[in-house]
């Protein structure tokens, strides 16, 4: 029965994906995967965490259909691996779920192959030998018959005609291979595998830091002195930097792109180095017993101050980036800077929580990876090409029409609608027309597996009689 389910799923996999681009098929595949996992692992699906991951997976599947962007496809794949990993073991961190999910999906067959042979070695070896014998019995004669038929074809015209009359065109070997790939994938995820010892270690590791047996007041006093001096000086340095940065911010000429660009990029480089070093220093001093040392208050206060000053640095960079965007419009890189700033801010907040609540490094990894996963899903809900185009055409002081035309087709409709109300050359208007009509043709000729929400919009705008 279970084999039949895998075979049905692999046929559906082929129907959905063979020679098709991504669209509705990925959303349907997500539903198929969830049903498949429910049938194979009914007990595990009742778990609350897994239900949350199912919800996340369905959400990304909906975003794939609505937004049809590369980011939504990536988010869907990540959610798939997370769910499969969570089914293998529910109580692990999200990054262990990713490891388990990827391993199960791409190499579950090989792992099970070894495990079966370990458990039932004698029987399995016999079975293996039988299978190899059958494979030889079919494969070797078939290979040589094909080779000799191809050789004999040249020797005898009658034989050549006879062979040419044999037509295997009704069999699509690529389709068969693709179905085998689907079988392999569903067979792998039917029984998710936890990677050991990583999974077991992760389950046993809590988020709380404990006092170790080697607690030495003298050592900790020296370490505290070093930490206090270092953080005190670093705080003074960052205050000086922030003051000069604020002064320079008020004197920047926002009309010159090169000046702003250099300011933002220099600021980002400083930020990267500063935040990474800040977090490493904090993690070094608060890695163990210094958390439990009674006289660590000054060091903690200096650490909190440094985190707050780094947050101020982040705000300054965000202001510079926003100034840049206001003057010269949105681009993927500028959005990337804002996302990076957001993630850095979250990183600093979790470091603050780690120090305040005496948590270990695992807490940081767990929390930050979970937040990264949620951020990925949330950002995949946005049509960034449309957002960039809308902002640049309507709100930015200057815009680069060439950049907007070169974006993906997901802004084609908006560009087409606004081409006559914005100040651009006739040549660019023609380019927008070409982009729009090729997009319309592409959407309208897509097969049912490839459609997305944009198909309904285009159908509504251009009923088939119009084209």
């Amino acid at each position: 029965m279970k084999h039949i389910l895998i075979i049905i799923a692999s046929f559906l996999f082929s129907i959905l994906f063979f020679e098709k681009s991504i669209g509705l098929n990925l959303s349907l595949f997500s539903i198929l995967t969830i049903v498949f996992l429910m049938l194979y692992n009914p007990q595990k699906i009742r778990n609350r965490t897994i239900r949350l991951y199912i919800l996340a997976y369905i959400t990304t599947a909906v975003f794939v259909f609505i937004q049809h962007s590369n980011l939504s496809i990536i988010a869907n794949c990540v959610a798939f691996f997370t769910l499969v990993g969570a089914v293998s073991e529910q109580k692990t961190s999200i990054y262990v779920n990713w490891l388990n999910g990827i391993y199960t999906s791409v190499a579950g067959y090989f792992h099970r192959n070894l495990e079966v042979s370990t458990e039932k070695e004698n029987v399995s070896w016999k079975k293996d030998l039988d299978l190899i014998h059958v494979a030889k019995l079919i494969g070797i004669p078939l290979l040589f018959i094909i080779i000799f038929v191809l050789l004999y074809k040249n020797g005898n015209p009658m034989f050549n005609d006879l062979v040419n009359n044999i037509n295997f065109n009704f069999i699509n070997f690529q389709w068969l291979l693709f179905t085998v790939l689907g079988y392999y994938l569903f067979s792998n995820i039917s029984k998710p595998i936890p990677v050991e010892p990583a999974t077991n270690k992760d389950v046993k590791t809590t988020n709380t830091l404990y006092k170790s047996d080697t607690f030495s007041e003298e050592k900790l006093k020296k370490e505290k002195q070093l930490g206090t001096t270092l953080l005190g000086l670093l705080n003074l340095l960052i205050i000086l930097y922030i003051i000069t940065d604020i002064a320079s911010l008020t004197s920047i000429d926002t009309t010159r792109a090169s000046v702003l660009s250099s300011q933002v990029h220099n600021g980002i480089n400083t930020l990267i180095a500063s935040i990474v070093i800040a977090i490493i220093i904090i993690l070094y001093f608060f890695r163990g017993n210094l958390n439990f040392y009674a006289e660590n208050k000054t060091l903690k206060q200096l650490t909190y101050l440094w985190i707050i000053l780094n947050v101020a640095l982040i705000v300054l960079i965000a202001i510079k980036n926003q100034n840049y965007i206001t003057s010269f419009g949105l681009t993927y890189k500028r959005i990337g800077v804002h996302i990076y700033i957001l993630l850095t801010l979250i990183g600093l907040i979790t470091t603050f929580l780690k120090v305040m609540n005496i948590k270990n490094m695992v807490f940081l990894f767990r929390t930050n990876t979970q937040i990264a996963f949620i951020t990925l899903i949330l950002f995949s809900a946005v049509n960034w090409d449309h957002t960039i185009t809308k902002y640049n055409l309507n709100q930015a002081q200057h815009f680069d029409i060439n950049y907007l035309i070169k974006l993906s087709n997901r802004n084609a409709l908006l560009l087409y609608e606004q081409k006559d109300i914005i100040n651009i050359s006739q040549k660019n208007k023609n380019r927008i027309d070409t982009k729009y009509w090729s997009y319309v043709k592409e959407v309208l000729k897509s097969e049912w597996q490839e459609i997305s929400f944009e198909k309904f919009i285009i159908d509504d705008k251009h009923p088939s009689s119009e084209l």
Binding site: L99, I102, Y103, A107, L114, L150, L176, V195, E196, P197
Partner: protein, 129 residues
């Protein structure tokens, strides 16, 4: 470790997978037979090189630390798979789904994984071999 046996089986497997993928796309033609036979040499060289440089060292180094082959498989194979899968996907995507590259990466991925299984399945004299 029976390296020659593993290499010969792996090369045959790589050869079969590589040509199944190619022929499923291009069909069988008498002109291709010579190339098919000659291709065994580069396939043998590449498969041997990859297995000797990426799979064998893991078994050799861990054997000195007293790990059994199955322990080595369970501990290190998942990370090997993740890296190999990542490289294969990157290779296929960066060549824009070129059929020759698909055949190469698919055969390399399956062959190296099966090579791991064959090494791990080898009979050993006790746990610490």
């Amino acid at each position: 470790m029976n390296v020659p046996n593993n290499l010969s089986r792996s090369c045959l497997l790589a050869f079969a997978i590589f040509w199944i993928v190619i022929l499923s796309n291009e069909g069988i033609d008498e002109d291709i037979i010579l190339i098919l036979f000659l291709s065994f040499i580069p396939i043998f060289m590449v498969a041997s090189l990859v297995i000797l440089s990426t799979v064998c060292p893991i078994f050799w180094f861990t054997a000195k630390q007293g790990f059994s082959k199955q322990e080595v498989f369970k501990t290190y194979h998942p990370y090997y798979v993740v890296i190999a899968f990542g490289l294969s996907v990157f290779g296929i995507l960066s060549t824009n789904f070129n059929i020759n590259m698909i055949a190469f990466f698919v055969s390399a991925f399956i062959t190296t994984n099966q090579s791991w299984v064959w090494f791990a399945k080898e009979k050993t004299n006790g746990k610490h071999s």
